[in-house]
Structure formats: structure tokens, C-alpha cells
């Protein structure tokens, strides 16, 4: 390294550190720096916490200088490059890892540490895995950037809740109905918006996601408005309820199998239901990829104009991807409703759409395994760091940044061909 370059380093580091500190200050001055609190007289007062902002800015500046120093002493390839051999080794063992993961998922409720909290968290992860796999059809395969996926989740949840409460249908009847209604909504929304491409499509789907939430909030007669719907029927084991004291004339699950009543039975049953639903979603997607429609989705993602020139109807093909993605969202929504027993528009905010999309994108667009890993990271991480209370979103953000730095094309970026000529 020449002397000139070395001399150049300090001013450059100082400049970058100052820029970083300024950025953190601007971002943080109102979000972190000003805290509102009740002054006791029913009024809101502001407490300025500039020392916190200053600390954050200083930390960020130091971190920036640290990164610059490190890159100066080790100017080789970036972290992503260094990790490539490890990632390739991991990819080679992917087949084993998948079976191992599946075995673990099947055995989880029987493992010694699997208390109610662990199984509940696992259910939460599996809901997001399923949503991720559903959205993967739309974003990963067909390449349609959908920022309003949560709308179909909501339609599924409310369909289940209303059908089950109003007509007393069982979960297994409501589930396909919820899926069909969500798919129908997908087609309805898709017709006008799928003419748009890229960013425009993203904005319009974002709008539709919000429209659904606002309709749910304001259509009080049907949806209960912001109060939501409560008393949604809990699932039964194919007609045998999970209750300690079943109503007269019916047999409860624990009587059926001859066990003592245990509230865990229902949780474990729910766990297996969502595991099965997620696996069905995965199997379906894998099967679709090998059928002409699935290949057309991927071709459409690659080049829409070329697709048209090959006689593929782009509108119908996109619509089918949108509808099928929506259907899986609807299934997941129905499951969510029966699990919670209570739903309100709050559960279907834009944050949910963003989280599901983050799972798909960070997993590596179109990769089924990537979705599982990303869902694990993005759901379990905030859950683990619950103890850090308000800082857990910081951990969430750091996790995302780490994935972006280490695997810029997503956790599992390789696309497996759907058919091979040579072995």
C-alpha cells in the first residue's frame, strides 16, 4: 500500500463516520429522541432523550470506522464471497438436511423440552412457513411483487370465522371454503391490477391490502369492526372436541383415546394440522413447478414478452399464480382463526405483509428451503429476544442486515432445474 493511500485513510474514515453519525441522528432524533408520556393530568408530554440518540450516533460512527479499518487490513473478497465454500458444502448436504428437518418437525411435540410455549412458537413459525410458501408462488415463481398478501390471509380468517359462527360448519368444511373464497378474492383483485408490472403492481397490491383491512374495520355489522370476532369455534379431532367436560351426548378426544384430559392435546393437534397444511402447500408447489403452468410462471418471471411470443396468455397465467397464492393464504388464515379463537383487523396490518415478503426475499426468491430458514430466523429471533422488550425489533433488523450481507441473493439462492436431460 502506498503512503498516499494510507494518508488518505484517516480523512476518509472521519468523513464516513460523520456521515453515518448524521444518518443515525436524522433517523433517530424523533423516533428515539422524543418520548411521549402521560403527564398525570391526562395530557401528553414529551421527554427528550438526546443522550440516547447521541450514544446511538457515536456507536454507529465507531462501528463504521471499525468496518473501514477491518476492510483496510483485509481488502480481500467480501464476507459473502468468503462464506461461499461453506454455503456450497451446505447446499450439497441439502437433501439430508431436509429429511432431518422434517424428522425434527414430526418429533417435536414428543421431545422433552417441548412445553406449551415451544409448541405454540413452532405453530407460529409454521404459519409463516406456510404463508411464505404460498407467497413464494406469486413472488418467487411468477415474479409478481405482491405487497398486500395479508389481504388473503384476512379473507381466509374472516371466512372461517363467519362460516363457522353463522352456520356452525366444522373446520374441515370451512377450510376449503376459506381457501376458495380467498382465491376468488385473488382473481377479483388480480383482474384489474395484473396489467401493471413491477413497482406499479407492488403499490396497487399494497393499496388493496389496506382496503381489505379498512373494510374489515368499518363493516361493523358483519365483521364486528375493530372489536373483531370472538368465540370462533375451536377445532375438534374430526368431531371429538378437545374439552375436559364434553357436552351431553358427545365424546371428547381424551375419552376417545383413553387418556387423561390435557390441554396440550389441542395444541399438539393444531401443530400437526398446520404442519400438514404447510407440507401440502410445499408438495403442491413442487408439483406445479414440473407442470406446464408452473413452468410458465417461472418463464413469466424471466421475460413476459418472450412468453407472449410463445403463445402463453400472460394475464391468465399471472391470474392463476395470484389465485393459487391467495388460496394458500386463505388456508393459513382459516387455521389462524381457529387457533386464536379471536380475530380482529389488527392481526392483518401491513407489517404482516412485509414480514411474509421478507421471509420470501431473504429465503432466496423461489426457494422452498430458504423460506423455512428465513421464517425460523424472523419469527424465532424476536421471540427469543422478547426479554429485551423494546430492543427486539433492533435484533430483528440486525438479523435481516446480516442475511443481506452474508447471502445477498437470499439464504438459498440456487434454482434447481425442473427437468434434466443428463442425469
Amino acid at each position: 500500500m502506498s503512503a498516499a493511500a494510507a494518508d488518505d485513510f484517516l480523512p476518509r474514515a472521519a468523513k464516513e463516520a460523520a456521515a453515518t453519525a448524521l444518518m443515525v441522528f436524522v433517523l433517530g432524533v424523533l423516533i428515539v429522541g422524543a418520548r411521549t408520556f402521560d403527564d398525570g393530568g391526562g395530557h401528553l408530554a414529551i421527554e427528550w432523550r438526546m443522550q440516547v440518540v447521541a450514544m446511538g450516533a457515536a456507536l454507529a460512527a465507531l462501528g463504521r470506522v471499525g468496518i473501514l479499518f477491518w476492510r483496510r487490513h483485509d481488502p480481500g473478497p467480501g464476507l459473502a464471497e468468503k462464506w461461499r465454500p461453506a454455503a456450497a458444502a451446505l447446499d450439497r448436504r441439502m437433501g439430508w438436511l431436509i429429511w432431518l428437518g422434517l424428522g425434527f418437525a414430526l418429533a417435536l411435540p414428543a421431545l422433552p423440552f417441548a412445553d406449551r410455549y415451544v409448541v405454540d412458537t413452532a405453530i407460529q413459525v409454521l404459519i409463516y412457513v406456510m404463508l411464505g410458501w404460498g407467497l413464494n408462488v406469486v413472488v418467487g415463481l411468477a415474479g409478481l411483487l405482491d405487497l398486500g398478501y395479508v389481504a388473503f390471509y384476512a379473507v381466509g380468517a374472516y371466512s372461517y370465522a363467519l362460516l363457522a359462527k353463522t352456520f356452525g360448519f366444522s373446520f374441515w368444511i370451512c377450510l376449503p371454503l376459506a381457501g376458495i373464497l380467498a382465491a376468488f378474492t385473488g382473481v377479483l383483485l388480480g383482474f384489474p391490477v395484473l396489467r401493471l408490472r413491477g413497482d406499479y403492481l407492488a403499490i396497487v397490491t399494497l393499496g388493496f391490502g389496506e382496503i381489505i383491512r379498512i373494510v374489515l374495520t368499518n363493516w361493523v355489522d358483519l365483521t364486528g369492526g375493530p372489536n373483531g370476532l370472538s368465540g370462533i369455534p375451536r377445532p375438534s379431532f374430526f368431531g371429538f372436541p378437545f374439552t375436559a367436560n364434553p357436552p351431553e351426548g358427545s365424546t371428547s378426544f381424551h375419552e376417545l383415546v383413553g387418556l387423561d384430559f390435557n390441554p396440550m392435546h389441542r395444541i399438539v393437534f393444531l401443530y400437526f394440522v398446520i404442519l400438514a397444511l404447510a407440507l401440502v402447500t410445499n408438495y403442491f408447489t413442487q408439483r406445479m413447478r414440473r407442470l406446464p403452468l408452473g413452468r410458465a410462471w417461472e418463464a413469466l418471471r424471466e421475460d413476459e414478452i418472450a412468453c407472449t411470443a410463445l403463445g402463453i396468455n400472460p394475464t391468465n397465467t399471472k391470474l392463476s399464480a395470484f389465485a393459487i397464492g391467495a388460496m394458500f393464504g386463505g388456508f393459513a388464515g382459516a387455521f389462524f382463526a381457529t387457533r386464536q379463537g379471536f380475530i380482529s383487523p389488527e392481526s392483518f396490518s401491513f407489517f404482516e405483509s412485509a414480514l411474509i415478503l421478507a421471509i420470501v426475499v431473504l429465503g432466496g426468491m423461489g426457494s422452498q428451503v430458504g423460506v423455512v430458514v428465513a421464517a425460523l430466523v424472523l419469527v424465532v429471533l424476536p421471540e427469543w429476544f422478547r426479554a429485551f422488550a423494546e430492543y427486539r425489533m433492533l435484533v430483528f433488523g440486525a438479523g435481516m442486515v446480516l442475511i443481506m450481507v452474508l447471502r445477498p441473493h437470499g439464504l438459498v439462492a440456487d434454482r434447481a432445474p425442473t427437468v434434466r436431460l443428463h442425469g
Partner: protein, 266 residues
């Protein structure tokens, strides 16, 4: 040379704002013939292709594709229906599916036949139709084309990773996998070296003679145009200035003027 007309273009016109891209263009392309459209840059050649394949909707003119004596009016059809009617095309800036393998590219090209065979997906999903046979048929056809364009060994490579000349050949193979009646090639020899361009000549004449289809060709490389065309249409500023067999077009004074400029009046 009494081949029946495959495509008749009559009085086609296309404007973009105030710019006249094509003006009152009429020509005929016959079955079992290679028809070349040539002309200086900006003469409107690619615009003709974009009208024919439905990417532009021309306000004036008629484009008729004759299939088994029945006329199909292309200006009335959506782009994907034109492709289904039997017009396949390649693009000046190659448009393969880069993150799909060469084989997958050729299988996507057989989409419509495979969709029917899969019972529009539902049949195959529910196991109602024997889809596997249709797919292996499609793979065989793709393999045949890959072999033909010398890419069988590269079948499982992503199309985007293939060298430029291979991508051009693959795009032609993909267009042929749609089983077209008319193959439209937009500058297929662009960026090819002389050896590759001689190979291209052989491929195109073989396609013409074996499959008995019409080929419409936009090309700048005169060795390709003069070597294999049966019929040449020359455009300048969106107008047709010459139309005929290569020998006649080559000696047409208006063509020479368009290509070489006005002779100095010295």
C-alpha cells in the same frame, strides 16, 4: 416458385407521434421460402415484426396469415393468439429465459400442447390424465432441436450462462418448438462470427426445406441475406423501395442509392 402465399401484408402503416415508422407497406411472404426484409437503420424493419406479432397495433393495414386456405387477420389478434396461430419470432436483443435451463426454455415453448395434455393442470394434479407421456414427448422434441443446433451437451445449463452464439441458436430452436407456420427472425446473425453465420445459413435453409414453413428474416449481414433468401423486400424510411429475388434487388439502382448514398454529381 408457385408456392402459395403464407402471409400477405397490405397497406400497413404505423406512426409514433409524428414519426412515420411504416408507410403504406405491402408485401407477400410465401410458404417454403425465406423472405428477407432489409434496409438501412431506422427503416422500420423491426416495427414490421412488432406489428406482425401483435406488440404494436397498427391503425391502418391488413396482415393475413393463410393457414390451410383460411385467412387469419393478425391485426385483430392479441400477441399470444398470433403465436398460437403459428407465428413464432426471435428478438434482436435475445429474449431467452436466462435463469431456466436450455431444455426448460424449449419445454416452455411447447406450453400450449402440454397444457392440453395436462388437462389444464387440474387433470395432471388429480392424476386424471396421463401427463408423463406428453412430457417425455416434449423432452424428445426439445432434445432433437438441441442436437440440431449443437447444444445437446449444454441442455442442463442456464440459458443466461451460454455464450452469445449459442443463445442465438437456442432462441431459434425455441421458436421452432412452437411448431410455427411462419418463423420471424430479427437479425439472427448479429454478433456471430463468419463460421457461426455460415452455420446459421445451413440451419435456416434446412428448416425451410424440411419443415416447409415460411421464414421472414431481418438481417444486416449481406452474406446471409444474399446467400439464402428467396425473396427480398427493401425498406427505406418505412416505405418499400424494392421487392424481388436477390439478383434483381442487388442491381436495383434505388437500393444501391439507399445503401451507398447518392452518387456525387461531380
Amino acid at each position: 416458385m408457385a408456392e402459395p402465399a403464407l402471409l400477405t401484408v397490405e397497406r400497413l402503416a404505423m406512426r409514433f407521434g409524428g414519426i412515420v415508422a411504416i408507410d403504406d407497406l405491402s408485401f407477400v411472404a410465401a410458404n417454403r421460402q425465406i423472405t428477407a426484409i432489409i434496409g438501412p437503420n431506422g427503416a422500420g424493419k423491426t416495427t414490421v415484426f412488432n406489428c406482425l406479432t401483435g406488440f404494436y397495433k397498427p391503425p391502418i393495414g391488413r396482415m393475413t396469415l393463410w393457414r390451410e386456405g383460411q385467412p387469419l387477420y393478425l391485426e385483430r389478434l392479441d400477441g399470444f393468439r398470433i403465436a398460437r396461430a403459428g407465428v413464432a419470432r426471435t428478438f434482436q436483443n435475445i429474449r431467452l429465459f436466462p435463469r431456466m435451463t436450455a431444455l426448460e426454455n424449449l419445454i416452455v415453448a411447447q406450453h400450449n400442447r402440454l397444457m392440453r395434455a395436462s388437462g389444464y393442470t387440474l387433470g395432471a394434479l388429480l392424476g386424471l390424465v396421463p401427463y408423463a407421456a406428453a412430457e417425455s414427448g416434449a423432452i424428445d422434441r426439445a432434445r432433437g432441436w438441441l442436437r440440431r443446433v449443437g447444444l445437446e451437451a449444454e441442455a442442463d445449463q442456464f440459458a443466461g450462462n451460454l455464450p452469445y452464439g449459442a443463445q442465438r441458436r437456442l432462441e431459434i430452436a425455441r421458436a421452432m418448438c412452437t411448431e410455427p407456420a411462419l418463423l420471424c427472425l430479427d437479425e439472427p446473425a448479429a454478433g456471430l462470427n463468419p463460421r457461426e453465420s455460415a452455420e446459421l445459413n445451413r440451419l435456416l435453409t434446412a428448416i425451410r426445406d424440411e419443415f416447409g414453413i415460411g421464414i421472414l428474416l431481418i438481417e444486416h449481414d449481406m452474406s446471409v441475406v444474399m446467400g439464402i433468401s428467396d425473396h427480398i423486400v427493401v425498406l427505406e424510411y418505412g416505405r418499400k423501395i424494392a421487392d424481388g429475388p436477390p439478383a434483381a434487388v442487388r442491381s436495383d439502382p434505388r437500393v444501391i442509392k439507399a445503401y451507398l448514398g447518392e452518387e456525387d454529381a461531380a
